[in-house]
């Protein structure tokens, strides 16, 4: 692990192994390198297309930095091992795709409830079921949010390019460590398998966050208590003689199970939600292009944000005032900003590679007068700039008619 205190050696090593400069690589590889730079030193996984290259890269690179790779017997075991390793102090990761993500859901819920930092990469592929196993898609937007049962918060992040995959993986680790919550990296098979140029930075350029540890014996007694008033309890790691009890049952601040007192459950689950609400501004991230004077707003995420940007630029050349909003943190959804932007636009278009998922989140935040229209494509082939442009033009046409009435 990049142990606290081990950084100088690790930084030197990263510099030597991956000298800064331009590389040509796949999104999957960029995710793996992002993890290495973020300090991930434990990976457990099970092969699945289109995520396997992450495992292969980790298996090759981790031992070089004294990290651990284990191929487990299935995805359930993979995330379980990752949770176990996280409680010993490792920054840990697993990566999978559709069917494997489904298998991980129960233990993802365990990680949420026990406030275990980890990064779960879902390189989305076409579904349902085995679907088009080798094709990319964006159909897991809600699986990331609601795949596990019960009321729970989650953080999910979605990168838009190979280079972005590197940096967003680092951000996923940092958020996970900072807020003691599993973070889902919602990548997709298209970026995962695309090769692009990326700049590998000096490790010093990379901000690394470590989870908070108990400052003393007293703090260690409340692994699930709001010890510091910031709603994020320090994490007493196993092996330090704290006698920590961790359970996926409803627990008191001490960690001990109490499934009978309504207040205990209420207090715990509400704190978990509040933890993200209070720190929302640190968690949310988005990009905006030409939104200042836009009549039409595109909201698009992940792989679809790229043809969307192309379409916006082309439409602007044709005199249509269109802007683009790209959520990088897709959960919690940056709806407030979309609400603000929606006040000045006539139409919102939501291009995504599914039959309409994020579009529902957008709709929740927009007044009824503004039509929110999905631009959807499935079948494993990404949306093209032209397809999106066509929708922009017909929307522009419609609003011209409307203003003519």
């Amino acid at each position: 692990m990049i142990f606290r205190g081990d950084e100088p050696e690790q930084i030197g090593l990263l510099k030597k192994l991956y000298p800064k400069g331009n590389y040509f690589m796949q999104g999957d590889e960029a995710i793996a390198y992002g993890a290495l730079f973020a300090g991930c030193r434990f990976y457990a996984g099970y092969p699945i297309t289109p995520a396997s290259e992450i495992a292969e890269t980790m298996a090759r690179e981790l031992p070089k930095v004294r990290g651990y790779y284990i191929q487990m017997e299935d995805e359930i075991a993979s995330i379980a091992a990752v949770i176990g390793a996280s409680w010993t102090g490792f920054k840990s990761m697993t990566a999978t795709s559709g069917p494997g993500f489904s298998l991980m859901q129960e233990n993802l819920g365990y990680a949420v409830f026990t406030e275990t930092p980890l990064v779960l990469v879902d390189v989305q592929r076409s579904g349902p079921s085995t679907g088009q196993a080798t094709k990319g898609a964006q159909g897991d937007f809600f699986q990331a949010r609601w795949g596990t049962h019960g009321d729970h918060p989650i953080i999910a992040i979605s990168p838009t390019s190979v280079e972005d995959s590197f940096w967003e993986t680092i951000r996923a680790f940092n958020l996970s460590e900072k807020f003691r919550i599993p973070v889902v990296l919602l990548a997709d098979g298209i970026i995962g398998h695309t090769r692009e140029q990326i700049r590998i930075p000096d490790p010093e350029e990379v901000e690394i966050v470590y989870r908070k540890l108990p400052a003393n014996e007293e703090e260690s007694k409340y692994p699930f208590g709001d010890v510091h008033g910031d709603l994020v309890p320090p994490m007493p790691l196993f092996g330090n003689g704290y006698f920590t009890h961790v359970t996926g049952s409803t627990h008191k601040e001490s960690g001990l199970r109490d499934v009978y007192t309504p207040e205990v459950h209420d207090r715990l689950v509400r704190r978990l939600h509040k933890k993200l609400e209070v720190h929302e501004s640190e968690i949310q991230k988005w990009e905006e292009y030409y939104t200042e004077d836009a009549d039409i707003l595109l909201v698009s995420w992940g792989v679809s944000a790229r043809p969307s940007l192309g379409a916006v630029i082309e439409a602007r050349k044709r005199g249509i005032k269109v802007g683009l909003f790209v959520p990088k943190t897709v959960h919690p959804f940056p709806g407030r900003r979309i609400r603000e932007l929606s006040k000045n636009v006539q139409t919102i278009l939501v291009p995504e590679m599914n039959l309409g998922q994020m579009v529902l989140e957008v709709q929740r935040f927009v007044r009824e007068e503004v039509p929110v229209i999905g631009v959807n494509k499935i079948g494993g082939v990404p949306l093209t700039m032209e397809e999106i442009l066509k929708e922009i033009e017909s929307s522009a046409e419609r609003s011209r008619h409307r203003s003519a009435d």
């Binding site: 192994l17 651990y68 487990m72 075991a77 196993f238 092996g239 961790v246 359970t247 001990l256």
Partner: protein
């Protein structure tokens, strides 16, 4: 009440006071297993700070988690061994112990059990086999004897039970033993051995669940169940001389396997040191 138990019971120093009294039914074999485990730890003079105990879901999973005073990880149903694998890799110098039920470890979690044995990762598993899903109300388990009555086999069980210890032994574990809660001293000795052996070790503890199993199978009391264990147990040496027909319905007790072979976390660390050195990381133990 908790205080009283705490002062009377010699092994109480190993228990999490705040969690007592246990939620186990009176006469449950789980208490015997907890006692045996505590005694094994005591006799080996293992500092509980050097222990991480992991369990799944079920009555038997509660034996050590939360009751044993160590770092305890109470996981999802069936997944304890997979969680423990991550813990062991992170803390190779600690004793990582899994205590859980037969349904948990051999039913839903059967695959993890086999693969941990195959990997030969240095984890000690105490599998409490009470022939039933106790916690959920006495449904049929993969260990329920042929012909037994449970809440989901109300007429009789037409499936055959899994021989867990034999299966794990052939999957590649370093140490495998089976005893019943009648064989308390042997059980303690086997747990001690399992804890000392390097590699994957399994101690199957056949245990009474008078409430969910015994009651429906003409053994209402814990004592009747223990007598059944006593009458039906056959030491492994003797079992070798008996025919399969003679062994029908018997409980074979003793050590099935005790062997040395390369252990997973150690091999993984050797490999990492080798690769790390090749790529220029200094020797971890140099200074």
């Amino acid at each position: 009440m908790a205080k009283e138990i705490y002062t009377k019971y010699k092994m109480a120093k190993y228990l999490r006071k705040e969690a007592l009294p246990t939620a186990l039914c009176p006469g449950c074999g789980g208490g015997t297993v907890l006692n045996a485990f505590a005694n094994a730890i005591d006799q080996l003079k293992i500092d509980p700070r050097d222990l991480v105990v992991v369990s799944g879901i079920g009555c038997s999973a509660w034996i050590a988690s939360p009751y044993f005073l160590a770092d305890t990880l109470h996981t999802t149903h069936g997944r304890a061994i997979a969680y423990a694998t991550g813990v062991k890799v992170g803390l190779p110098d600690k004793k990582v112990v899994v205590i859980s039920g037969d349904g948990d470890l051999a039913g839903i979690g059967g695959n993890h059990l086999l693969h941990a044995a195959r990997r030969n990762i240095d984890i000690t598993v105490i599998l409490v086999n009470n022939f039933i899903y106790g916690m959920t109300g006495g449904q049929v388990a993969p260990t329920t004897p042929f012909g037994a009555v449970t809440t989901t086999t109300p007429y009789r069980n037409v499936e055959h039970p899994l021989k867990i210890a034999e299966t794990v032994a052939s999957a590649g574990a370093s140490y495998v033993a089976r005893w019943t809660t009648f064989h308390v001293y042997q059980l303690i000795e086997s747990i001690k051995k399992a804890l000392t052996v390097k590699g994957f070790s399994l101690v199957e503890a056949i245990s009474q669940c008078p409430v969910q199993f015994g009651r429906r199978n003409r053994m209402k009391t814990p004592a009747e169940m223990l007598r059944w264990f006593q009458k039906n147990s056959v030491p492994i040496s003797k079992a070798k001389t008996l025919s399969p027909e003679e062994l029908e319905g018997k409980i074979i007790v003793g050590e099935l396997v005790n062997r040395e072979k390369p252990e997973f976390t150690e091999e993984l660390n050797f490999l990492i040191e080798e690769v790390a050195k090749q790529y220029g990381l200094g020797d971890k133990n140099a200074d």
